[in-house]
């Protein structure tokens, strides 16, 4: 089935949903979205269940052409303005749904404010699940589109190849995108492998996100940890957001594609409600950390979910001016600027 043609892929876009966290006992990494709240928002905007797989964009977005009758899409996680190409084109704001018709071309430029964003399509993509999820895990060729990142020329099949005309919806810049303050860390499971002084230094120092960031992990540049009991442990389980410290003392935060087990000591773990912030950090950005208890981390998770539900309730009608398909079909506009709303 036709859907969206990738004219230009951008930088390493993959298909992601919540991933497959329930098969880590088989050695299968969970994968899934690096910034789950933004994925959920993108899906909300196009009327999907929140866990529907979308295109995860990293740093530089793709250019896509609609090959089917019509689709409804929305970008979330970055405030970058998209562009509808062609004579009838114009800017398309993020966090707003839009209906596109056959032949229309959409460009997502380099992201200005985040390392990642999600482009959701109404109905989702027609891709087979692997262990219950279509999330892409490139290293083992699992899921997504042929088990790999999207490349120029791919045609992504969509489930819904003609969408109805209805009022489009939007959300003013969601507050979770602007979250500030230190990233919160629960110490353990192997904080006893490090000197107390180096743990104190970790919480009092500023770190810079290293150039080596991918879906598997993020290297931090800053003061090194000192190991007090060597830097090898008997391999044990790895949680999302675990901070692994190999022999050189430089911490690596393990992200969505992290290996399921590992033999380096893990000094702490980023709380679940802050992990999405890591997915948005760009190389060169600075970051600080703050200690929190596991019980407080659990409370933060529940509070963050309540906040997110409040944000989702603020989604409102965007007005009819964004029904580009109708505007184009009726030949009413040419080069009209469609921003604002």
């Amino acid at each position: 089935m036709d859907g969206l043609r990738v004219i230009s892929a951008g930088f390493h876009p993959t298909i992601q949903d919540y991933g497959r966290p329930s098969v880590q006992h088989l050695g299968i990494p969970a994968a899934g979205a690096m910034d789950v709240p933004s994925l959920r928002l993108a899906n909300r905007l196009v009327g999907n269940p929140e866990n529907t797989a979308a295109i995860e964009i990293r740093l530089v977005g793709p250019t896509l052409e609609v090959l089917c009758d019509s689709v409804r899409v929305a970008l979330a996680g970055s405030c970058t303005t998209m562009t509808l190409l062609g004579d009838d084109g114009g800017p398309l704001p993020a966090h707003q749904s839009v209906r596109l018709s056959r032949g229309q071309k959409l460009r997502v430029p380099p992201l200005s404010d985040s390392a990642g964003a999600y482009l959701a399509v109404e109905g989702g993509f027609d891709l087979p699940p692997v262990y219950g999820s279509p999330a892409t895990f490139v290293r083992a060729g699992i899921g997504g589109f042929e088990g790999r990142a999207l490349v120029d020329g791919d045609v992504l099949p969509v489930v819904t190849d003609a969408v109805d005309r209805r009022p489009e919806v939007m959300l003013a810049t969601p507050s979770f995108l602007a979250a500030e303050g230190p990233i919160r860390i629960v110490l353990g499971p192997q904080d006893d492998f490090f000197t107390a002084a180096s743990i104190d230094r970790f919480f009092s120092s500023e770190f810079v996100v290293g150039a080596a960031v991918d879906r598997m992990g993020m290297r931090l540049e800053g003061p090194a940890f000192e190991h007090s009991r060597g830097h090898d442990i008997i391999s044990d389980g790895i949680a999302l957001g675990a901070i692994q410290v190999p022999g050189n003392g430089q911490p690596i935060i393990l992200l969505a594609d992290h290996q399921t087990t590992g033999g380096y000591p893990k000094v702490g773990t980023v709380i679940s409600s802050d992990v999405h912030r890591l997915g948005r950090l760009r190389p060169g950005q600075s970051v600080r950390f703050e200690r929190i208890s596991a019980a407080d981390g659990e409370r933060q998770a529940r509070a963050a979910e309540t906040d997110l539900q409040t944000i989702f309730r603020q989604i409102t009608n965007a007005g009819p001016q964004l029904d580009l398909g109708r505007l184009q079909d009726s030949n009413l506009i040419s080069g009209v600027v469609l921003a604002g709303a």
């Binding site: 299968i28 083992a140 088990g147 008997i234 389980g237 949680a239 980023v270």
Partner: protein
């Protein structure tokens, strides 16, 4: 057995994972406690538990902090430390063909030298014992098996390989691992199996599970080549047998 009667310790791994640690060694009695607990908790299907990942000496419980919490999970673990489930009374036993010749075994000679054995003795030692799958981990389908015959325990490579061929049979210290997908790796490669340990076109894709028993069976290069083609074409399937746990 050392330490098996002791209570485990609980270690936080953030607000969405909890480690139940039974010891700090690679030991069959400790690993059995880990796998028994995993099976007991799995059969309970506790609300909010996302996955149970048994490793050598600890169990990681991945959970959803919106649906459960550490305190409830610790209580559940403490109530199930000595439970024998039906599924822990029997387990799967596999005979895995392995070619220990030529390009399949690039480190065989070096391992033999380090161990003070002939290559034939290395092969006989590795294919002459039953290994237990202590854990599945790292990447899809990788089994970590122990316990290595003491004569065959060699350290990890000083210079890890950038690319280990898929299905390589490797050893280091107490463990033997099959590289289910191509990755970098630091273990010595002494053989290669024609059987895919991770194959998305097979159901299920992952061959082994924690708690399985494995014995390697030496095959010739000619047999390896023929079997590799059969498994690639999906005209052959490897069967297991049930044994008493």
């Amino acid at each position: 057995m050392t330490g098996t009667a002791e209570k485990p310790i609980f270690l936080a791994a953030g607000d969405a994972a909890l480690v139940v640690q039974f010891g700090e060694t690679i030991d069959s009695a400790i690993n059995q406690r880990v796998n028994d607990l995993a099976r007991a908790l799995r059969s309970l299907a506790l609300v909010g538990v996302v996955d149970l990942v048994p490793t050598f000496r600890s169990l990681m419980i991945h959970y959803d902090p919106l649906r459960t919490d550490q305190a409830q999970l610790i209580a559940a673990v403490e109530g199930n430390l000595h439970v024998q489930t039906a599924s822990s009374e029997r387990r799967r036993s596999w005979i895995i063909p392995s070619c220990y010749e030529g390009e399949c075994a690039p480190d065989l000679e070096a391992v033999a030298r380090q161990a003070g054995l002939s290559p034939a003795e290395v092969i006989a030692a590795h294919s002459g014992v039953d290994f237990d799958v202590y854990m599945m981990g790292f990447m899809p389908g990788f089994p970590y098996m122990a316990s290595m015959p003491p004569a065959l325990r060699v350290p990890r490579l000083t210079e890890p390989r950038v690319r280990v061929p898929v299905r390589s049979v490797s050893i280091a210290a107490e463990i033997t691992v099959v590289y289910a997908i191509e990755t970098p790796g630091g273990l010595s490669l002494i053989g290669r199996t024609p059987v895919p340990f991770f194959d998305l076109r097979r159901d299920p894709p992952v061959l082994l599970e924690s708690g399985d028993q494995v014995r390697f069976e030496a095959i010739s290069l000619a047999e390896y080549t023929a079997l590799e083609a059969d498994y690639a074409a999906h005209t052959k399937t490897l069967e297991f047998t049930w044994i008493d746990a």
